[in-house]
Symmetry: C2
Subunit: 215 residues, 2 copies
DNA sequence: GACATAAACTGAATTCGTCTCAGTTTGCTT
DNA sequence: AAGCAAACTGAGACGAATTCAGTTTATGTC
């Protein structure tokens, strides 16, 4: 579940791809993408600037790759977490919790993702960038679809009392990912605390019958 | 309430500042900030590229100004909407509604704001940019503070059943502003519909006693 | 009606970061 | 030890934002 795995199918052992991605996550996450010079990352990794182009077509291509990896992990976490849930209410709690399983670097990666979602809206000029962009878009759709399915199931079971499953899913997602705007490792709240509070909030948002009983 | 008012105290009648801002909102909002060439805006407005520097120190300075104006309007809308609310539940509904009073261009402006929040995190090199950045930051704080006050009032009155007012305020804000990521004028939902649905969702999120009674 | 003045503006040149080009080096395979 | 692809490099091209060194335009003043 580390940030830079499942990269390419056949990854040469002397490839610095993973190191570049990790470094880029740290820099982009802490200083911002625009503010980070591509050359700085080359220096950090210990290679010449042009060597970066052996791995990525452009700085944006690297960014999109980071976003795609995060989205991909997110899909996997969701599925792993909700697969064994006995009912919809438990599935919702598990889904929310899965969103906060994060190392400090994962937190940065999720912040990067949130901060650059707008990149996915318009086509990219170059081949590989566009490829990653489209992958990102379909992963976003998959995530929305998965959450929508979860909500719909809860509605059908009579546990969630909301009308529009897709809209509710989007609300839940906004609620959940909004955290990455302000969360900082070592800040006022730990991820464990956040998990609990957000799971409750999510349950209230879908007007889950279980919450009413509990309160 | 137009997008480019309350600009400077003494605004010369032949100033193109307001036109530049409107044009920039349209371009930045539709094509994205990075993707929009500064020169394009000059062309749209009908002036040479260098004339822009008479009004803004840089492209980013213009962006930050747009964000600051939006934040400022947001504060005003919140206060106007909640001032006359008879109780906390009504105030929450009014606050949510105030967030969706928006012309198509306002919608773009709010999307721009959301997409570039990360700019506010790190200091800016130039004087005026940094000035706008700090203004934005304090406006963001003011908005969080206002929402927190609203939630706290509801808690004190026993109407909202949540623990942490600040955290709840942040959740509400995430919920409310998340809409600008997917809303499009002429899309599936109108702003009126969104207003209703989001007001309900917000009420559930704070576990408002009124919602329980109503359902 | 000429004159001062500040805002509004301009074309040419500069800067700076991203990216391309034309190769060279490295390490693995056969 | 030759062949080969991955990994890498320095020198420069490119493009968009920005600076420079002024010129034009409107407005109020004498």
């Amino acid at each position: 579940m580390s940030t830079a795995d499942n990269a390419q199918r056949t990854e040469s052992p002397r490839s610095k791809r993973a190191v570049i991605i990790s470094t880029a996550i740290d820099r982009f996450g802490e200083e911002g993408f625009e503010h980070t010079k591509w050359a700085t990352i080359a220096d950090d990794v210990g290679i010449g600037q042009t060597a970066l182009y052996h791995y990525f077509e452009s700085k944006v291509h690297c960014l999109l790759t980071i976003m795609r990896l995060e989205l991909s992990n997110s899909v996997e976490r969701f599925q792993a977490a909700t697969a064994s849930a006995p009912d919809s209410a438990a599935a919702l709690t598990a889904a929310v919790a899965s969103a906060y399983e994060a190392s400090p670097r994962d937190a940065l990666q999720r912040r990067i993702l949130q901060n650059h979602m707008d990149l996915l809206a318009t086509p990219r000029p170059s081949k590989k960038e566009e490829e990653e962009r489209l992958l990102c878009r379909s992963l976003v759709q998959e995530i929305e679809h998965n959450w929508t399915g979860l909500v719909q199931k809860g509605i059908d079971e009579g546990v969630f009392r909301v009308d529009d499953a897709l809209l509710t899913a989007r609300m839940l997602l906004a609620l959940v990912v909004g955290v990455w705007r302000w969360y900082r490792p070592g800040g006022e709240m730990t991820l464990e605390q956040i998990t609990d509070v957000m799971a409750d909030a999510a349950a209230r948002l879908v007007d889950s019958a279980d919450v009413r009983v509990a309160s």
